[in-house]
Amino acid sequence: MSKKAVKTVTDEDISYFEKKYSSYNDKSDDKKKVKNAKGTALRFFSLLKPYRVSVSIVCLASIASTLANVVSPDYLGNIINNVQASIEAFANNGTPIEFGSLTDRSSILYQIVSLGLVYFILGFMTFVQQFVGAGVTQKLVFNLRQQVNTKLSNLPLRYFDKNTKGEIISKVVNDIENVSQNLQNSFLTILTGAIQVVGALIMMLRTGNILMTLAAVFLVPFSGTIAFKLAKISKKWFSKFWSSMGAMNGHVEEMYTGHTLVKLFNHEKQSVDEFKVINDNLRKNSFSANMIAGILNPILTLFKNINYVSVCIIGGCFYMGRWFNTGVLIQNTMKIGDIEKFLSFSSLFSQPITSISQMINGIQSALASAERVFELLDEEEQSADNTENEPEGLSNGNVEFRNVSFRYKEDTPLIEDFNLSASPGHIVAIVGPTGAGKTTIVNLLMRFYDIQSGQILLDGTDIMTMSRNALRENFGMVLQDTWLFKGTIKENIKYGVDDVSDEEIIAAAKSANIHDYIMSQPNGYDMELTEDGANISQGQRQLITIARALLKNPKVLILDEATSSVDTKTELLIQEAMAELMKGRTSFVIAHRLSTIKNADNIIVMRRGSIVEQGTHHELIEKDGFYANLYNSQFTGGIPEDIE
């Protein structure tokens, strides 16, 4: 376990891993780059417009509290001056000094009461700023989230197919969070910081003592620069840290996904060795990043202390009226309290400069997040609904493809001049190897994607001339990739329809062969499903989606027959339920069963994304093309993927 036991990590080793698993690094430098910082910041501020009043209150309160903070040392210093004067007076004439009255501006009492007042303003304004500010930020985040979420439902499917799930979710959750956390803070820090720096400087210069002012601030530019530099170096290490973290993530994920394999091949040792290399590198980067962050404060404190000492010494000179021990006389302008004032001003002056320089990383990443969120908000939405032929009620279920052409990418033709018609009771089978693009037909029918030329007609009406909602009312969909959400079984079944009685739900469940199972569960229809219905089996999930489709009572059905990882009995139940579902409807079936294919009125054969053949079983067999080849290589044992 000693440090030496770990084999030395060379840069080559680690950069290999980092490159290999770079996709796992969601905090990479690329993600932190802001393309248009100014535009993004301006746009962010424009979001604040609806909260003008609150924002103004927050700003005014911050300004007021900062001003109070800047003037307070003056009063404290005056108190000390008065105290000091009293001592001297006492020593000279033996008269104890009165605290004076409130009307006497130079009395101790007046100064203490004023200080109390200034402090009260300071405290109260800080409270106002935080209290009102909390509401504004949260409201802003709430609205931004709402906007993003609404936007998501208006985006074309293309967007979801193009971006990974993780990226989209990260925008809705993490980026918005990052924006809210950092931007508000940074903005206020910069605003109050600027006031504080200028205010402290003015207060110091007001005394007219340039030398003292210099003594109080001369190291601040250095500490500012150092803080800025160290923040930069530490950022570099942190980004290295995140890239090794990405490598770790990738490595670990691969090892666990392949856990069986690791075990079967006795590969534990090698995987541990790789892990060690990455882990130790992670430790090194984490150490460097944290150390730099850790030594920054002591260094800044040293600078602050040096400034303090110089204020004391120079102040001492002024107090005593001579320039060190040289005997050179200078004007005696400083009292003890004035020195105290300069000490406070010195720290008021330096504090914002260092805190702002440390904040730059945060601002950058928040701006980058804001930019990503804005990019999402600017994504082109799906075309507006055309409702010139808005149907009343449901169609009869006659579907026709007329000279349809479609491609996902402009330069890759997929479907060219495709014709097909189907009416209620008809079955259109879609066959082809896995990954052949069978969902394309679904995408077009449901208008998840728009075709480039030709027409798709529903009861003779071009689907482009009706609203998407009206079109989709006609469709029911049961996919192999079942989609259930957290909620009761009942809620999941009645997902498609609003007002529906319990009897109807039960009837649908019965037709879908799932009623008995539901009743055998402790809470029956009120049984809570966990996320994605993970607490029931795949087969039961499928039956529930069938019940859901039955309840919706669609005119056209899109069905995926695949029933993998389902036991024989459930498979039979599913087949029965599907047959029930297809009765009297126009069905598009992603077919896996011979009987379906043979009974189909039309078979669409897909391969590598495009439709390659079309016809009935007999026609296609006679044609002796790709379908015949597929068929002869046996359907039932799973469709071979790489038949050439």
Partner: protein, 580 residues
Amino acid sequence: MIKRLAKCVREYKKDAILTPVFVIGEVVMEVIIPLLMASLIDNGINAGSMDFVLKMGVILLVCAIISMFFGGIAGRTCAVASAGFAKNLRHDMFYNIQNYAFSNIDKFSTASLVTRLTTDVNNVQQSFMMIIRMAVRSPMMFFFSFIFAFGINAKLASIFLCVVPFLLLGMFLIIRKAHPLFKRVFKTYDKLNSIVEENVRGIRVVKSFNRQNFEINKFQDISGSIYNDFVKAEKTIAFNAPLMQMSVYICTILISWFGAKLVVNSGGTELSTGELMSLFTYTAQLLNSLMFVSMIFVMMTMSKASAERIVEVLDEKSDIAEKENAETLVKDGSIIFDNVDFSYSKNADKLCLDNINISISSGETIGIIGGTGSSKSTLVQLIPRLYDVKNGCVKVGGKDVREYSIEALRNEVAMVLQKNVLFSGTIKDNLRWGKEDATDEEIIKACSLACADEFIEKFPDKYDTYIEQGGANVSGGQKQRLCIARALLKKPKILILDDSTSAVDTATDAKIRKAFREEIPETTKIIIAQRISSVLDADRIIVLDDGKISAVGNHNYLLETSCIYKEVYESQMKGGDDNG
């Protein structure tokens, strides 16, 4: 839990202990500085002694440098200790996970293990840094500031004693009110995440059911409740800073009032001007340190959940243990299942495998068929001891699998899985999983046996072709053939193919089986298949039905005696003319 985690500090114990020591040094210096400042003002400036001022100035500078030195070293040791601690945590977790049996792995999902190793460890590392640095610093600061203030003037210092309880009470009330709110917010965040995820994943379903508005409302509800809780929590927290400031200010005002009185009335003998000034500094230090304590408290409760999740992984014991002095030599490829019962969960009502008895001799080719859920995969997984049997025993080479060292057993049993996994890396890298030091000839040989050479040769980079994560750039059938080649490189005594040629076309499938028969006759081959043609020519075929052996025999025998087999055969070979 803390004890369990503390064990992982190990070689970084020295740094972990030194950090607070240095921090104490830093704190002492920071507390001494105001005292020296007071002396500089009283005995130097006030007394008009420039020599004293300069002397004190130098001492102050030295103290400031020592303070920085201590602080810097503490920063360093803290970074060493916390980074090392985190490394050890990850290391221990990873090691332990490597030893998990499958039943253990099934308990955690991959995603959750990854989060535990990354995010959770980061959280705990942050807390650890806080503890060894701030958790010492703040109480020390409080303690020393108070002692020094007390030393200057006990009566004035007692002002702190009056104010601190109010401040503590206030902070306590604020935390008590805000903490549950924050906790609830974090929980609701999880819900928000899962809703967004549900929606993104099920976007087609949502759209096809025209439920966009429904989903938007659902999102709005959750997002709204986060908003409400957050605003409430933050509005509570908004009292924190003013409370703190008010305490400092009240102390300052009271000290200036009574202090001024004291200085004036005693003519500077009981309390000097410089001392009065240092009392102001102590006020700020003292109360600020209390603030930090409350922050540390909040931070630690937040990382508690992470710590618990880590300990869960560390404490999980592997269900499959290796025997001491285990046998390391597997004699041959014979396999015996002797009254084997098995179920995945200990208290399942139904057995997955029910009284399995079969004896397979070395070199035999065995086919296994049966419907989905008939426990075909389960049966073969017992051979390399991925799971332990419930009753009975599985013997390989004449000995119970539990007698062997796991490494030795798995070296001799190669299994190609239904779910094929290739890793990112070149084809060669992937194949060498089977044998680390395999020569190019061996690799080419194995690939030709698995009929993988034909397509590999077509790639521009041949055996150095880079396979992307999850094997995304090769087809299903190619993947399967690569996996078979990888298993063959092990030169195992037993080779198990779990439905591993499903994506390979029939002709190639037949070619692979022919190669097996001719090139590795001594190896016992077990082939699970959906396609009956894949097992037709096996020496014996086992028909599994619902966890029981329904029939065993060669093709012709089964065709006559087993109706299940006959049914499957007919539906596949004759194409199921009417009923499929």
